[in-house]
Structure formats: structure tokens, C-alpha cells
Symmetry: C2
Subunit: 346 residues, 2 copies
């Protein structure tokens, strides 16, 4: 059996270009102004864009792809698809179409591997109620796969990452730790069969609309999904865009059972370092244990949604979410802007 993680240098969202490097590059490009129908341009190379088509219809568009994060082709396809679809869900949208981005080593990789990757993706796209309408494939040294996804949304009902309000509770829908655990898988510290909890989480669609009623949906003021920049990186972006401070409680943050032992074993990625650097001057950590800090920098592949919700609805929303997201939890609250965007308590 092929072990996909052994065919690549860097896996999953850990292979993402760091936010700091990206900003430096993008600052040097002269982008013309977008037309007025671009409601959200997502800050190039991150999150989803919103493009208004009519007064009551807008497109939500995103694109994501990466190298294998798990060993089984079928799981890789499922996780890559769930990860790409997630940005549409994070904006409150409903996915409609998906195009594949596929690079694979024609000469050395069995075509059955590609069949399995595509089947995994196709199954997830179907589960999302969307259509797999095309894509592009090239011959390359290492396997990469992902999707460009387009969804629809009402222009007035977008969950941007800039609308968190003081007093909101912060809910995280999935456990953290995919970065360190998948790094351990790559080092062959773990077998894929030991990671069913993690793989099942990564392949779970971040679809929450169908679990909640209209009132509960309206209680969600702001949302983002946690991916390569980790909880700290994406939390910082959301807090900063909302001009608020997020107070997070380390003890309440859900983690996979293997996460801490994997960090302890030194399974780290370059992203752990660049994510720490990214939020350096924007986060105040009150935790003393350096390992417990690392979980905030852990790059997630197909991570959960971070939701800022009206506290009156927190409990009922959590109860509904737990039907699909077993470890969903309240992890903090939104407070008035302080000297750092993030304050992380023990």
C-alpha cells in the first residue's frame, strides 16, 4: 500500500506560505481597485471572496490545495475537499460547484491512487450538495490536490470575520492538533489506523446551517475557519478585523487526545514557528507551559469554525452543533479592544 505522506516533503496546510511572507509579497503588487460588486476580497490569498451578482444573490468563492496530509488516497481526497469547502461554510454560504486542482507524478504513481483521491473528493462534494464540474491536472513531482469552490449566499447574510461584538461568546467546532499529529504520521511515529479520530474530524464538513434554526443562525455575528495559521493566527485576524480583543481560555480549547503527547514528542512543523512569529506582538499569553502555547500555533488542515455568537444563544447552539461536532466548545469571549488582539488565559 502506498503511504502518501512518505512521498512529500511537507504535508497539508503546513505547506502553506506563511502569512508574513505573503503580506510582504502582496504589498509589492499593484492591484487595481475591484469593481463595486466585490463585497469581500478576502485579503488576497486567504479566506473566501464575495461577489454580488444580483441584489439578493452573491457568489462565495475560495480555492485551496495541498500535498498529502494522510496516507490513504481516499482519505486525502475527502480531507482536501472538506478543507476547501470549509471556507464557503465559514462565510455562511452554500457550496454549488467545485473544480479540481490536481498535480501528480504520472511516471511513478499508480493511476489507482488518483482514482481514489477523486472518489473521496467526489463523495464529499456530493455530501455538500454541490457539483463536481471540472478541473485541471498536470504532471508534477509530487501529488497535490484541492478544489476551487463556488457557493451562493444572500449579500446581506454573509458571516464576515469583522463583525464580532463585545460580549459575544467564541465557539470552536473542532478539536485542535492536526498539525503536530500529521507531522508525527509523516515521521511514522503513528500509524494512520491510530488516527481515526483526527481523520474523521478533518473529513467532517463544516456545514452548520442545516443544524441551526433561523434565530440561531442570526445569533452568529462573525465566523472564520481555522486552517494553516492556527487558532492564534486566524483568531488574531478575526479579532483584528472586528477591532476587538478575543479572550481565550486555554483549558477550554478542545484538543485531540494525541495532541499534547505529539507536541511533547517534538512533532513540529515550520508553520508552528511562523505562526508564533505572525502573532508575536498581537497576543498576550498568560500560560506558562510552552507546549500548551504550541497548540495555538498548530496549523490545522480542515480545522473547525470559530464563531462569535450572541451569548444568549450559546448553549442551544452548542447543543445543536454537538450532534455533528462532538467536541464543539465555548473557548472564550469577545471584549473591548485592548493592547493585544488576543489574550490567552490558563
Amino acid at each position: 500500500m502506498i503511504q502518501l505522506t512518505q512521498t512529500v516533503q511537507k504535508g497539508g496546510c503546513a505547506a502553506k506560505v506563511s502569512a508574513t511572507e505573503l503580506r510582504k509579497i502582496l504589498a509589492q503588487v499593484q492591484f487595481p481597485p475591484n469593481d463595486q460588486n466585490v463585497l469581500v476580497d478576502g485579503g488576497l490569498f486567504d479566506d473566501a471572496a464575495i461577489y454580488k451578482i444580483t441584489e439578493d444573490l452573491a457568489l462565495v468563492q475560495t480555492l485551496d490545495f495541498f500535498t498529502p496530509i494522510v496516507d490513504s488516497p481516499r482519505y486525502f481526497g475527502e480531507v482536501a475537499a472538506a478543507n476547501a469547502l470549509s471556507d464557503v461554510y465559514a462565510m455562511g454560504g452554500e457550496p454549488k460547484t467545485a473544480l479540481a486542482i490536481l498535480a501528480f507524478p504520472l511516471a511513478t504513481m499508480e493511476s489507482q491512487v488518483i482514482v481514489e483521491v477523486l472518489q473521496g473528493a467526489s463523495d464529499k462534494i456530493k455530501e455538500a450538495g454541490a457539483n463536481f464540474v471540472g478541473g485541471h491536472s498536470i504532471d508534477d513531482d509530487t501529488l497535490k490536490f484541492g478544489l476551487s469552490v463556488t457557493g451562493v449566499i444572500h449579500p446581506q447574510k454573509v458571516w464576515s470575520n469583522s463583525q464580532a461584538q463585545v460580549g459575544d461568546d467564541l465557539i470552536l467546532t473542532k478539536s485542535l492538533g492536526t498539525g503536530t499529529i500529521c507531522a508525527g504520521l509523516k515521521k511514522q511515529t503513528y500509524k494512520e489506523s491510530e488516527l481515526s479520530e483526527v481523520i474523521s474530524s478533518m473529513s467532517t464538513l463544516n456545514r452548520i446551517r442545516d443544524l441551526l434554526n433561523a434565530e440561531q443562525l442570526a445569533a452568529i455575528h462573525s465566523a472564520t475557519d481555522i486552517t494553516g495559521f492556527g487558532l492564534a493566527g486566524h483568531g488574531y485576524q478575526m479579532a483584528s478585523a472586528s477591532r476587538k480583543t478575543f479572550r481565550l481560555y486555554s483549558s477550554q480549547v478542545p484538543m485531540f487526545s494525541l495532541a499534547m503527547t505529539s507536541l511533547q514528542a517534538g512533532n513540529l512543523t515550520k508553520a508552528h514557528r511562523t505562526n508564533a512569529h505572525y502573532v508575536e506582538s498581537n497576543a498576550r499569553f498568560k500560560i506558562t507551559d510552552p507546549l500548551r502555547r504550541q497548540i495555538f500555533f498548530d496549523p490545522q488542515t480542515s480545522g473547525g469554525l470559530l464563531l462569535a455568537v450572541n451569548p444568549r444563544h450559546t448553549n442551544e447552539i452548542l447543543k445543536k452543533l454537538s450532534q455533528r461536532f462532538r467536541t464543539a466548545a465555548k473557548i472564550g469571549e469577545v471584549v473591548d479592544s485592548q493592547d493585544t488582539s488576543l489574550v490567552i488565559e490558563e
Copy 2:
């Protein structure tokens, strides 16, 4: 100065996975039926898809990316963008948004190279009247760049590749030969400065709507763009989808001035062989010179549109097109279906 073509094994559309290999893989995946709003699903991994949003509005979606085909980062960005936008034009659509697909070697490539690639792409997206709304970047061994493009179109006005009618003239908007010439560039047989005709052609947008009036646009029955599978490959697909035969006149096919000498010098790609194999039993070549056959298999990057038009309008359409496409020419006509989809005359 960095020479991008020296950083990769295979360049441009020549790195595309062959149509034969692709079909074999896709045939093994169990795709569920699409919903009724998918008007064209483009045969996975080729062409653009059409998704109906309302009775008078549909999305045209496509995705394309590749390794450097030219040496200058700015030109590479321009050509990659023009190439990706082309599929939307080939369906008769108007591009609205673009997302970037970017892979680059962080450790070894100057970030200025990426800035230039993005600037070239941004300039072309602007020229197309579309918006550069996001994308995704990963750390990778070799540079790859492309776009996922979404355009809009009236669902009743789609130029599919299946509507060529007997008696239609066939028009090709750009010269052939980018495959062999760029292979020569990669081998350093040519300097980039000698290829201004070719680079200018590859970075020209396949936008023809603004050149033609309503009557002329209605005279276009069917269209496709010529890319990695060459004139023979894409011509075969269009003829076959239309259940007709295309009679092409070799002597009328426009070629870059370097094309034949480059073929003569043996500048070939793997795609020349796989494209020949792809159409083997579906094309009857009446040309004796083997080199003149090769031009039909030459993989194009950002190649021209192949249009099937009502012959009463051929001359006026050609006259209008020549304002932007200097070498646009009538290259053949559509006839009743014969034993092969293509007949290629001297």
C-alpha cells in the same frame, strides 16, 4: 536574471496530463449525477463548466495552471492569466472574478519573481474587466501559476463545442507553434527576445465579443480554444461533440514564423506524441510531410479560438478579428460526418 524555463522539467500546457490517460482515470471514478442547473460540465478536467443561477444568468467556470513557459516572470504571469481566462471566452462568457493558484520554491526563489508573476496576471485580469479576488499559495519545488476564473453568460447564448453545423466555416484566431518554440526556448536554442511574436500572441486575451456586433456574434455556432491537446486534439473534440467532420486545409493554418524551423530542429514535447496518439483513429491526414503533421499536434499555451461560423459572415468576422488577431484565418469547413472526425488536406 532568472530564466524561469530553466527551473522546471516540463513547461506550460505540454505538462498537461494526456487526454488518453485522463479518460482512463476518470472512467474509474463514480461521479454522482449533477443537479439540473449544471448545463455543461465540460467533461471533467477540460474546458469550462456552465452553472445556471437564474433563467437569464449562468456562471462559466474554468481553472488552469502550469509551470513556466517563458523566462520572464512578468510574461509568465500574463500568459498564464490569458490562458486561464481563455476558456471563459471560448464559451462566449464575460470573466468576472479570478482566484490565483500559486506554488513556488520559497527557499530558492526571490520573492520579486512572485511579485512580477502576480503583477502580470493582475494586469491581464484588469484588461479583461475582471477582479482578482483571492487565491492560495503553497511552498513547492518548482514554480506553478494559474487561475480559477468565473464569468457570466446568458444560459441561451453559450458557445458550446457541440453546435458546429454542416456548411460552417472554421476560423482560427491565433497562429500555431507555441509548443515547439517554447521547447526550443527551454533548450536555449532561442532567446526570449527572439520570441516577441509568440509571447505577444500568448498574452493576447481571446476576447472577441467586443470586436463583433450582435449579428456577427449570432453567426458563431460553436467554439473552443486550442490548448494542450493541439489543433488536432481540440478540433477532434469539437467535431466529435458536434457529430460532424472538420475538413482542415494545412496550407491555410497560421503558424509563427519560427514554428517549422523549430520542428525541423527537433524541438518536440511529450504532448506531440500523446496528442498524435489521441487522434490516431479519428483523423485522416492527406499531407505527406511529417513535419507539417506535427504542427497539428503541437500543444498550445494560450492558443487561439477555433470558431464554427455561418459562412455568410466569415469575411466580415475575419476583418473585425484581424484588428486584434493579425493572423486570424479561415482554416477549413464543417462537413457531414465521415469515417473520421478530422480530414486534413494539403
